[in-house]
């Protein structure tokens, strides 16, 4: 039904100093209903000390991608193809023991909901100190001192006392701070933050985002920041990857993607989002339809059933052939560069106020 595309979508977008590079990643889950193509030929790079934002809605494959980097997917149901190279080391085929050495050490993660992501059965302090003991071989006492230092750094008052508290004794914002302390305790080179502020209130979110940025300056970690919120990403990221139905549809610096977006999906996201300073007379323009099922994704460009501009492309192209994402600043769309530019200037830009 689908025209099969060439295996390799994209050449490296990249620079010599890519610290993490993901090439043509494919992740499939076998479920009772069939095979889910959660990630379908994804490539990206993360540079040392920089922040890559990945934006997408639920089911876009953004979270799966990042669980795969650390091998945290379920090996029984998921099959992973492609290449993930971290600082010269191939991870897709790496044995579990090698990955264990990386996790929490060179690469750490922060999850969305700090209440469920921390174990209710152990003290916050113990959970923070654990990876430090494991990766540095520090004694219990040293690890405790380090954990208290980290708690203090992320702004937990009376860290020495709170070390012995359980997660449920912390407020939502404090739990996420504790998660950050846990993630940074081994001074990782890469931090993967999966919707780290989605469960938080807006004033607390602002505190946590700034804290992450300030700590990044101090620790020099690269960050992969996953979110559905374009506002958050504008604040946090250097580069941006927009995902839809398991594929990257647009890539560029944050400024490029948010100011001169080139993909109809990105246009849709931006025009459907109300802004604090937006023009109130300009109605929101939603993207019609709903995100596709990955069990049975649309043929060709996965976005074509919802795309309002597909009639400007040669008949059958959008539904027949998957558009490729070129290197560097690019959008995976069959519209010609001229069409993209004129549509953006004439139709999209005025909507964004």
């Amino acid at each position: 039904m689908t025209t099969q595309t060439k295996t390799e979508d994209t050449p490296a977008p990249t620079g010599p100093e890519a610290f993490l590079s993901v090439r043509d990643l494919r992740v499939r889950f076998s479920t009772e209903d069939g095979v889910v193509n959660a990630v379908d030929g994804l490539s990206f790079d993360v540079e040392r000390g920089k922040t890559l934002g990945i934006v997408g809605e639920s089911g876009s494959g953004k979270s799966v991608t990042n669980l795969t980097i650390l091998g945290l997917h379920n090996p029984q149901t998921a099959s992973v193809e492609g290449e993930i190279v971290l600082d010269g080391q191939e991870l897709v085929s790496a044995p579990e023991r090698e990955l264990e050495k990386l996790r929490g050490n060179k690469v750490a993660m922060i999850f969305q909901d700090p209440l469920t992501a921390l174990s209710p059965y152990y003290t916050v302090g113990r959970q923070i100190a654990e990876p430090y003991m494991k990766h540095t071989g520090a004694s219990k006492k040293e690890a405790k001192a380090r954990a208290i230092e980290m708690l203090d750094k992320v702004g937990i008052p009376q860290p020495a006392t709170r070390f012995n508290d359980y997660p449920h004794q912390f407020s939502g914002g404090m739990r996420q701070r504790a998660m950050i302390a846990m993630a940074l305790i081994c001074d990782p080179d890469l931090l993967i933050a999966d919707e780290p502020t989605t469960a938080l209130d807006v004033t607390v979110q602002a505190q946590i985002l700034d804290l992450l940025k300030d700590l990044q300056q101090e620790f020099g970690s690269a960050i992969i920041f996953i979110t559905h919120d374009l506002g958050v990403i504008a604040n946090m990221a250097d580069d941006l990857l927009v995902m839809y139905a398991g594929r990257a549809v647009e890539r560029g610096s944050v400024r490029e993607v948010l100011q001169t977006p080139k993909h109809p999906y990105t246009w849709g996201l931006l025009s459907s989002m109300p802004r604090l300073g937006g023009d109130l007379d300009e109605p929101l323009v939603p993207i019609p339809g709903s995100p596709p099922s990955l069990l049975n994704p649309p043929s060709g460009c996965a976005f074509h059933p919802r795309c309002t501009f597909k009639d400007q492309v040669d008949a059958g192209l959008c539904s027949g052939e998957k558009p490729l994402l070129a290197a560097g600043r690019a959008a995976a769309c069959h519209l010609t560069p001229d069409q993209k530019q004129s549509i953006f200037i004439d139709q999209i830009k005025p909507r964004l106020g």
């Binding site: 209130d201 979110q205 804290l211 931006l270 989002m273 109300p274 939603p286 993207i287």
Partner: protein
Amino acid sequence: MSENVTLPKQQDSSGPGNGGEPLLTVEGLQKHFPIYGGFPFKRQVGAVKAVDGVDLTVYPGEALGLVGESGCGKSTTGRLVTRLLEPTGGKITYAGQDITHASRKQLAPIRSEIQMIFQDPFSSLNPRQTVGTIIKSPMEVNGINPPGGREKRVRELLETVGLNPEHYNRFPHEFSGGQRQRIGVARALALEPKLIVADEPVSALDVSIQAQVVNLLQKVQDELGIAFLFIAHDLAVVRHFSQRVAVMYLGKVMEVADRDSLYTRPRHPYTHALLSAVPEADVDSAKKERIRLSGDVPSPIMPPSGCPFRTRCWKAQDKCATDVPPLVQISGNREGHLTACHFPEEPTIAARAEDVVLDPALAALEAERPAKD
């Protein structure tokens, strides 16, 4: 006594501040959830003061936005107004009639006029009923027989909310989240309500779907002249939808104003902090003030005395701990712009000479470095 509920005529739907009679008035509303404990016999040892003295007014046909962070009591307020909960104190007046403690029977005629839309489109629809049954049931319960029959009316409603009338016999699980929320809207519209309380109606939806539902609600408001109490935590969505906006914190209204005043000329420090915290998708937007509060919202079990915000406020003085600031129009504010603050801020959201950073961790990290920009 309840049969003669009459609505004020709504010739012009310009809504707020038009001097019309309010549709809904809430005065000093309170809801305290008791906490039991103690020894040897359990007794009430305290209360969660979810709503603690809220004043609101909704005019016919207008949308009043209610914003605030989790635990501020906005959802509880919504449930009190629809009388899904019994208020502990205060007064709720709907169309001139006191419904604060009205019985089931007294509420019956009003129930159909105040409808609710819930946050979760998955759990708020009965999975064992067809869409037709779900939308029809409010009419059955209230004994309403529209001309042409209930089924015809349901099909019209499905069309109004942008669903295929052919889907009458389908079950909720056959629909996506956005479509389910449309079903929720159709159910709310079935009784031709005068007021819809929408509790976080779009927050469970994907970004690209949110706008579909916001636009639908806006269409409903414009075309049918229905008033909304729009409860949400997303300030941008609230701004887009509401003509007037009230900001809540720890069970109290901190500030209420017309949309423009609230978003561009806020006076309450908490409103400033909230607006400053909203992340903006514009990389180059005009620089706005930066306020970073410390910690989280205190527990509503033991809210701070006086002004509830004082424990996180950079302008707090002794007076704030002793006197509860009244919700009044302070000098320099437009008509209808009420603020509950002893020491209000300047009416601007422009960047300050110096950022307000109360978070100790941020302050420490930022002090180590020479300030950028």
